[in-house]
Symmetry: C2
Subunit: 259 residues, 2 copies
């Protein structure tokens, strides 16, 4: 199993506090020592930092904690390998371009008997994980359904992806975070939760290391920030726990509600 972390915010926000907690699970408070990665969107652009070594020992992870990058959308993952060896090409998040956007994805869980399911040609896996192949299969189906141009109602794309995730969940555990740069989608198989922070902000205390933050000092009253994780990262705050098959879509920090 692995740990997932995502963020959606209405202003460029640094995720150092949450990433500090997550990075501890990569070798200190958790067994996830097989690499980690984090993608920051800045406008339509994105950059991904990856390392095949444990996040608690990584030079790059340390740099990110001392040189915070402000972003409106973040997708992150620390890995405990089950399918696929420990190598850079098997390190999440995975990114592909579709419709002139970078789509970024990370998966927690393990799938079985997927060879006959995940038939792809246009989007092919570079590594040998079930996770990357599932991502390629999702995008392949999205193109087959919607064609070469983004539909006007992009939410219909995420609804369709949720139906694909329902199919994937029949093959095993499939907790997923996915972004097109504007939206962050979370799909729960058995472990996924989120919290939306907005004014009035309070203090939060990390579970995995002895760090407390006073969001009131770090934010303005207009800030809205949602953090998604496989397990709650803080004590003393109420996280929303998703049930099996639940999914949520966030944009600029807020839940997108389907009417």
């Amino acid at each position: 199993m692995c740990e997932l972390l995502a963020m959606s915010a209405n202003v460029p926000t640094d995720i150092v506090f949450s990433f500090t907690g997550l990075a501890q699970r990569g070798g200190v408070t958790g067994p996830h020592v097989d690499g980690w990665g984090i993608t920051f969107y800045e406008g339509k652009g994105s950059r991904t930092f990856k390392d095949a070594c444990p996040s608690s020992e990584s030079h790059i992870a340390k740099m990110l904690q001392s040189y915070p990058i402000k972003s409106e959308v973040v997708i992150s993952h620390i890995r405990q390998a089950n399918r696929g060896c420990v190598s850079l090409e098997n390190t999440h998040p995975f990114t592909r371009e579709l419709w002139g956007r970078y789509w970024t994805y990370a998966h927690n869980g393990q799938l079985s008997e997927y060879d006959d399911k995940f038939i792809v040609s246009r989007f092919q896996a570079v590594g040998d994980t079930d996770s990357e192949l599932a991502f390629c299969w999702i995008l392949e189906n999205v193109v087959n359904k919607f064609g070469e141009h983004e539909p006007d109602d992009v939410r219909s794309v995420f609804q369709y992806i949720a139906s694909l995730a329902d199919e994937i969940r029949e093959l095993g555990v499939f907790n997923m975070i996915l972004s097109d740069g504007d939206h962050v989608m979370s799909y729960c198989s058995n472990h996924l939760c989120y919290i939306t922070r907005k004014a009035p902000f309070g203090q939060a205390k990390l579970i995995d290391t002895d760090v407390v933050i006073d969001f009131d000092k770090e934010t303005t009253t207009n800030d809205i920030v949602t953090v998604i994780a496989t397990r709650p990262l803080t004590h003393n705050e109420q996280w929303h726990i998703l049930d099996a098959g639940d999914w949520e879509l966030f944009c600029k920090g807020e839940r997108v509600v389907y009417l």
Copy 2:
């Protein structure tokens, strides 16, 4: 104009020496202050570090110089914007997946009147540079010609890409470096050169900053390393200067010769 840097080596090699020279051109010895990026391949995987701020001031560039990453293939670029604003999505190198490989590309030069030429649908630009659009057009044509699976003779793909580059060069200046993870291709419009270093190794002195390296102490006698750049990075070594329309293909540090 921009600066390009690429490396092909037969053993994982750090490029700190050459990158140190190039990074100086991003704000100190050169006017290229509009961002920089570098892609390292490690096996089939790759990771890209990018910054929209000048390389001579970048925290990430400093980290890469103090925490060298060893790689067999590197593609790097520092940018002086001509087409497209200064932003992360316009920062080279650009990467797309094709045939289960990450293809990475960077361009030096400026193109004109390309709107009718670069018609794409499958590979779309995320930013608004001529460079990224040309890359998308190249890949679109490669898929149209060779289909969804890599041909047995991959060199025929690079020969075809060279013919596409000939067409692009009619629209302006097109110096290019491109890799599929195994090969590094260089295409010259007006500024591109390379050097292949192998035993017996000697000393090299950077042009852009006061650094000397004794490769004999850094290498083994079996190492073969080719470095490609828009302009020579060192005094006291003989760089091969490419002519307009020339292109070269390297694999594991050595020129691929077409018989």
